[in-house]
Symmetry: C2
Subunit: 174 residues, 2 copies
């Protein structure tokens, strides 16, 4: 039998994990929001013209959802970083037990949001990547989307760790 956890996680560790979450989300959001490519779909040798199509992240619902989950995640994480800095500097928990419960549910919901954001992007990108028609531009677009999803996934791992911490910090029950 494992002994029941007897100490609550140090607020400094909590703070570090949240800052890491924020950093991953920020880079992921920048990569996906700036992701653009011009893919050539048809070359006409007679008229010496090429028909091309421009791709942006907003052309795909999966990437839009991923961007939204990253942005919401950043807003929530900044708020929690502020609360944790208050806790570290003053020694008192801002809002008491009520906020601890809110943090427990908030962390759970946020980690689900980030997990689904990254998974939706991977679900689309992995299968699009296997299309034989992709040129190097399209491939670059999809690789960047994969990079953004990977970073969001790392951010999700950190937010899942935060969620474990906030579960372990739940108010004691009588």
């Amino acid at each position: 039998m494992a002994p029941p956890p007897s100490t609550v996680v140090s607020p400094v560790v909590t703070l570090i994990v949240r800052v890491l979450t924020f950093t991953c989300l920020l880079i992921s959001v920048i990569i996906i929001a700036t992701n653009k490519a011009t893919s050539i779909i048809d070359i006409n040798l007679a008229t010496n013209t090429a028909t091309s199509v421009e791709m942006k992240f907003s052309d795909f619902y999966a990437y839009r959802y991923m961007l939204a989950s990253g942005v919401i995640g950043m807003a929530y994480t900044v708020l929690q970083i502020a609360f944790t800095i208050f806790y570290v500097s003053s020694g008192n928990r801002f809002g008491g037990d009520g906020l601890t419960l809110l943090e427990f549910y908030g962390d759970k919901v946020l980690s689900y949001l980030l997990a689904t954001g990254a998974a939706a992007c991977f679900g689309l990108t992995v299968d699009l990547n296997r299309l034989p028609e992709n040129d190097s531009e399209a491939q670059g677009f999809l690789n960047k989307a994969n990079a953004a999803a990977s970073l969001l996934f790392i951010g999700f791992i950190f937010s899942a760790i935060s969620s474990v911490f906030s579960s372990l910090s739940l108010p004691k029950r009588g």
Copy 2:
């Protein structure tokens, strides 16, 4: 301030939620595993022939991942149902505090697995659904995939509820 939760959730409620999870996963797995379609990609009027392509769930990595997450989810949920039935019928928790911790982490991991499974399927299906080339067979295939993902998502909601319950049932800390 909300008062800290003072009672642990009744094992009968836990059991009901787990049975609901299992039911959703079972139907979702059946739908996705039997999903097949023959889509016509080219009709040649001169030779009166049609070129068609058969689609199965296993042609798409996102659907394979969804099936895997559903099957793993069913195995885990059956195990937890057995433990809960033991608890309800004997009044003792099988395995004591050690198993409570294992349940806490297991429920967390499982709910993330189901969330990402459903999201990966939605991420692919929503954007494939918008392709103008889809015929009615392809549309039917994607609609079934959507139905399976929706059921898996409902199963995820139930497993997230189980995860909240198992967090609230964590051993008391001194």
